[in-house]
Point group: C2
Chain length 249, copies 2
Amino acid sequence: MSVQSVERALDVLEALAEHGGEAALSEIAARTGLPYGTIHRLLQTLLARGYVRQESDRRYALGAGLVRLGGVAEGMVGTWARPYLAKMVELSGETANLAVLEGDFIVYVAQVPSPRRLRMFAEVGRRVLPHSTAVGKVLLAGRAAGEAVTLLERTGMPRRTPNTITETRAMLAELALVRDRGYALDLGEEELGVHCLAVPVHDGDRVVAAMSVSGPAERIDAVDRDELAEGMRKIAHAFGTELGPPGRR
Amino acid sequence: MSVQSVERALDVLEALAEHGGEAALSEIAARTGLPYGTIHRLLQTLLARGYVRQESDRRYALGAGLVRLGGVAEGMVGTWARPYLAKMVELSGETANLAVLEGDFIVYVAQVPSPRRLRMFAEVGRRVLPHSTAVGKVLLAGRAAGEAVTLLERTGMPRRTPNTITETRAMLAELALVRDRGYALDLGEEELGVHCLAVPVHDGDRVVAAMSVSGPAERIDAVDRDELAEGMRKIAHAFGTELGPPGRR
DNA sequence: AAGGCATTTTCCACATGACGGAAAAAGGAG
DNA sequence: CTCCTTTTTCCGTCATGTGGAAAATGCCTT
């Protein structure tokens, strides 16, 4: 029913990704539990096709071929998200976005604009730092605390508005709050007068993306946040279920 | 030496990507020449792991799992490029960039800044439309003309400066010129006073990325373009050879 | 330099697991 | 409802992947 060697090749690629995109044969073996010979053979195959690369010190790394596939897949994800984003627009009356964490940046992958006259401008493709956006906080909160700190230290937390959180301590408290209540807010932290509410998209066990609605501060502040968040949570959950492997909780 | 089923699984993924990320079983069969039963079995495996998704009309599409791998791989590519970009800085004295086409946008993946006092500001992670940049023109020129036109029509060609090319006809002529001479220029088309020269990075048969140097108009205009382009071409070629599968011309 | 250790790469006999043709099932069109 | 196309399942065969163990490689220590 399922092809063993393909499954194992995927195990190898995932092990590499979890290792930061680069690992020695023995490290892959430790992670996957597969015998050395087998891993080596699989790596040779992936190597020949450009999906894995071998560095001069004989370590292996994810290769450029994956960039292409990932790019195409990202477009697909945006397409599938649109119906769910449309539901969020219906629910909130505001523009809805899908964003993922790519490297150190938040990337907006898809958007469905609000029907209102005053609304957010299209920002699909835009990259911003995570600390000043609701989607960014959701995605950071979905990672291990240590990982989030590393990222924040690497990028810094530049002040975008007077409301931007610029202290690591304050951000960690904020992330804990986000984890706790299940949604994140951005109250003019990226742009004054623009407020957002974001919820996580889980694909089974991981936070793979975030969905948000954003609009003028007065309108966003007028709604019951917990109620809106609850509605969005359901939509995001349905989307996550569709995204992830089938038949998983 | 190489694992057949893994190779075939990759064939299937590539066939899907070339079909725009979505295809029916029979279309994959037509492209790969593999028997139906085999393809179906491979797809089931990829499906179970979230690397492929099945739509309601039973067509198959690239899945969200690839987005993650692609993102990690993109970071790796940036790392590998740095030594080559450094050579370009040495050659030109100006800031060097690596960019790829992701969806409709150019993404700057890596940068090595010029040692000069007046230099380009870091823009790793930035996304811009292709029509107003040298790297964008190189990447568009590396695609089929029809594909480039489709993209340009989808995004439009917004005027960024008085020098921006905003007519499709003029852009097609420009792309033909780029293909012909092997490099592209941006003479203040994205930002006034900033000029760039970009060359393609081939990984064997495809243009996978572009490398550029950019700086103040006066400095860039002072050098012999053909000579600089020739030097950059060599560096980009070496990088492309390292990126692609080994032992390919 | 030389030796020793850790890791990677190659090899090979075995039998498991993938193969693919063909039949069955599921959708769609008329 | 029937026919036709496309997808999915099935199963006997043997090519292909498997993994332990030996050989080779590279690195670090002495």
